[in-house]
Structures are given as C-alpha cells and as structure tokens.
C-alpha cells in the first residue's frame, strides 16, 4: 500500500523531468578568450558560440534566415552578429566601456560552432577591467560561459552563469 503510494508520488515528481527529456545532452556553453596585446594596446578577443543557438537567438531579435557560415549567408549576417556581440560582450577599462572592432569570424573545425574575432582598443595604463559576457543567456537558463583573460602576466578564468555574468579584475 505505502509502496504503491510512494511509487505514484515519485513518478509524479519525475514527470516534468521525463517531459524535458528531449533536451538530453544539449550543451549550453560558450567560451571567450581575451588577450592583451601590449604593443598595440588592444584586447584581442576570440569567442566561440554554437551556430544553432546563435541562429535561434538572432532570429528572436528579428534576423531570420542568416544561414551563418554557409554559402547562402545573408549579407546582413555580420551586422546582426556584431550588434548582438556588442550587447553581450562588454569590457570596460576603469569604468569606461570599450568599443568593439569586429575583425571577422570562421566556423569551428567540426562546423557546429563559430569563432568570432573582436578587437578593443584599451588605454595603456588601465588599472582595472570589467568583463561582462552573457551571450545566449537570453536563450537558455542553464547557459554557462567561460572567459579566459590573459593580461599583464595574469591568466585567469571566470565561469559565468545567468546569476553571475560580470566580474572586475584589478591590475594594479
């Protein structure tokens, strides 16, 4: 009797998980590498984003059928991508937001992701950098973004989630 009750109870608890089962193995991670080039005083950024996720979110922002990284790629693809990245990757030096210079993009070796390259001019004597990186967090609750930042001999990692997606690093 109690066994039957428990079984029903536990099955009822499992139900939402069962329904969500279609998401099995979907992976929601993006990686961003930032490196300071002291000579040109700029931050060189390489960021990797899954193509299918990126298309989904861009189409939510009104950019349908971009066909990113294919022969049929829309002319406006880079414009939309650039605008999205400007919102989702923000780096400030001593409180001042740095502006993006979109360098280009290329598909990853396995063709499931895209690498985007961005350069940001930074004042040479900066004392702190604030990094915000929340790409795709507007698409998935469980999106995780890894940021690796190398500057002035420091090599650090940050793991961002929807609850925590910006951090300030002191360089003085």
């Amino acid at each position: 009797m109690i066994e039957g009750f428990l079984l029903n109870f536990i099955l009822a608890m499992c139900y939402p998980t069962l329904v969500a089962g279609a998401d099995l193995h979907d992976i929601h991670v993006s990686k961003c590498e930032i490196q300071l080039n002291e000579e040109s005083s700029s931050l060189e950024v390489a960021t990797q984003i899954y193509l299918d996720d990126l298309q989904s979110i861009l189409s939510k922002h009104g950019a349908d059928n971009l066909h990113l990284c294919t022969e049929r790629e829309s002319k406006d693809a880079d414009t939309f991508l650039k605008a999205y990245l400007e919102k989702k990757l923000q780096i400030s030096a001593d409180g001042k937001l740095l502006s993006h210079q979109f360098v280009g993009k290329e598909p990853s070796e396995d063709q499931i992701a895209v690498w985007c390259y961005i350069e940001l001019k930074v004042p040479p004597g900066f004392a702190s950098l604030k990094v915000k990186y929340d790409v795709l967090m507007d698409l998935y609750d469980d999106q995780k973004n890894i940021v690796n930042i190398k500057a002035r001999g420091k090599n650090g990692f940050m793991l961002f989630s929807t609850r925590h997606f910006e951090e300030t690093i002191q360089y003085k």
Partner: protein
Amino acid sequence: MNSEFYTYFQLGLQHIADLNAYDHILFIVALCAIYRPEDWKKVLILVTAFTIGHSLTLAMAALDLIRFRQELIEFLIPVTILFTAALNLLPGAEKSRQHMPLWKYLLPLVFGFIHGMGFSNYFKSLLGKEESVVKPLFAFNLGIEAGQIGIVVALMILSFLVMGLARIKQPVWTRLVSGIAAVMALFLMWETKFW
C-alpha cells in the same frame, strides 16, 4: 578570477548536478540502489570505475583519437541504465550484493566508456584555440567524480530517511528505486531511438 583547474572542476560538478543531463544521475542511482551505507567502500570503487571509464573515452574523443555516431551513443546510454537497474531486480540480487566478482566492477567501467562518448562533444567545445587539453580534462573529470559522490551521498541519506520514516525495508526500497530508474531508462530509449 579563478584558476583554470577550479573553473573546469566547477563545470564538471555542475554538469553532473544539472537536471537536464539527468541520465547520468540516473545511472549512478541505478548503480548504487542495491547498496547500503555500510557498503560505502564498494560503492566508492564502483563509482570510481565508472569515472575512469568515461574519463578515458572523453579524453580520447577530445584528443580526436576516436569518433562515433552520436545518436547511437545517446541511445546506448539509457540501455546501460536499464541493464544496471535490471540487475538489481533479478531474484537473489539483494542477497548476493556482498559478493563482488570482478565483472561487477568491470561493468561500470565499460558503461563508463559509453557515457564518456556522450560527453565528448560537450567537452570539445570547451577547449580553446591553443591550450593544452590535459589539465582542463583532468579537472573536469575530477569535478564529475565529486558530483557523482555527492549524488551517492544524497541517495544514501534519502534512502535512510525513507526507510526509517515510511518503515520500508531495504529490498523493497531497492526494487522501488531500480524500478523507477528502469522505467525512466525505457522512456529515454524511446526518445533517443535512432532508427
């Protein structure tokens, strides 16, 4: 800012705890359902064998030494869960749980191979452009192991509470938990069938 090691450790830990990837949790539950807190040493070895198994295939896939059909792997993962749960349900399984022939340890190792292949696309995407694979891989797997041990401890506490409060005996509890795991595995097999 953290170290690379800590970041990937955390990622492994969170990946295990993630309910969207509950097939992993389910396997651990099925693997441990028949054991009692006093069997903790056996459980630790079983879980570690599983971790070693999936660390190996994950590493090989991340280094691009092996490739496989992802849809086949996604189907095989619930098969390993069903098989493990079914073993708990065999007549006499409860009585012979203290008897540990080698195959009982080899099974999670081999099943670990399959689960590791399920992780590999995930992991490949985490690697940067030029960094070494070894350190993040090691940290990620260690995080997964820690997460799995956490699941075992949680399961043990839960079974202790349920058995104490609802006065259910261990054999009944084992069958109940294994039965649920088996049903969920069947459901996953249905969802991931690739033919």
